[in-house]
Symmetry: C2
Subunit: 222 residues, 2 copies
């Protein structure tokens, strides 16, 4: 089986990306990056998901972005709550939960591991619909990183897969369920209390919308 590196936060999207990579026949090497944001509940979720979806291995690497990348997720600040779906991802709006260059950092670490493993495939769960308007979740970002990877490594020939990029949250959930994903083990909330999701941040709002539109009971514990 060919190897793939899969970026795994333990959230709904990256869990689905892992399920897609697995169903495509890859031996999956799951990578979780602690960048200053992680609550223990997220790391627990990533570990659960990696095990349930039979990743070949799961590594957790730390990089302290809080010293470099100002964001409500890394350096403190107010996480927006109770925003309407019209507000979330409105054109031109980049909310304070955006972490500068986060996905570039995550993909660069995935690339380092992929080159070491002689894996040619990297999966990540970004999506541009039902998302928060982060610049590094757009198709042009993924394509630009893939172009970079060709010249940044010895062998080149690296593919960056973002299989969810043009799916709605409901479509992502439907895709995951068709692949046997149990979303009860995932965690999306930006501001959990213990293992309970807040239910009011943008991540919770988009997740709830997804389950509602997919007509699937929401297994999240609020």
């Amino acid at each position: 089986m060919p190897r793939a590196v899969v970026l795994l936060s333990g959230g709904l999207d990256s869990t689905t990306a892992l399920a897609v990579a697995r169903s495509a026949g890859y031996q999956c090497h799951a990578l979780t990056v602690r960048y200053g944001q992680h609550h223990a509940v997220e790391l627990d979720a990533a570990a659960r998901v990696a095990k349930a979806l039979e990743a070949a291995e799961h590594r957790v690497v730390s990089v302290d972005l809080s010293t470099l990348a100002a964001s409500a997720l890394t350096t403190g600040g107010t996480i927006p709550k109770n925003r309407s779906l019209a507000e979330i991802g409105a054109p031109g709006d980049v909310p304070p939960t955006y972490v500068p260059a986060r996905n570039t950092v995550l993909l660069s670490l995935a690339l380092a591991w992929a080159e070491t493993l002689e894996a040619r495939d990297i999966y990540l769960g970004v999506n541009v619909l039902d998302a928060s308007g982060y610049p590094d979740c757009r198709p042009e970002f993924v394509r630009a990183f893939e172009s970079l990877a060709q010249v940044a490594t010895r062998a080149g020939n690296i593919r960056v897969h973002a299989p969810l990029i043009e799916l709605t949250k409901a479509q992502i959930i439907e895709l995951g369920r068709s692949l046997g994903v149990d979303y009860a083990m995932t965690h999306s909330c930006y501001d959990p209390v213990g293992d309970r999701a807040c239910g009011r941040c943008d991540a919770c709002a988009l997740r709830r919308k997804g389950f509602f539109e997919a007509g699937v009971p929401d297994p999240t514990r609020y």
Copy 2:
């Protein structure tokens, strides 16, 4: 003064890049990344250089590449010694000191800080002549990262400067001296003993060649 982020290892090249950025009128924010390779002597050199060249600030950030990126510098293994200048950087040769995706990781962290600082300029000291044949030191790599940076960030409009990229080591030393750099404070060796350079690794060989060809006394302590 506009701000620039300058990647600073404390070696000859990155020190010169910092001097160039400073002479171009930037307020320089120096970034040293500990990725599993650093000896204390390198961090000391970076701190000395940042101070001597009047960086506005100097930050040191750790990311443990040794768990992801196999290399003689990060995970152990034999550092080549006593190689001829013909062997070092021979076409197609990538030595075991190559760290997979290292410069992609370094630039991604520099990009995160640049976006936070609202700096539009990033400097790094890579060069393709008198170098070890690493893929991520080539002009096409620098251009590809600059293209990525346009779409990876909110505002785009980021420039990645590699002012040494087509200079020989001797030309780099001449440039630095014209800008007042004292190379005695820099450290290049891959395998130092205490604060002494080994004199036999590829980094030492290229450095010695540079001072020889520039007709400048080599201030390195071997």
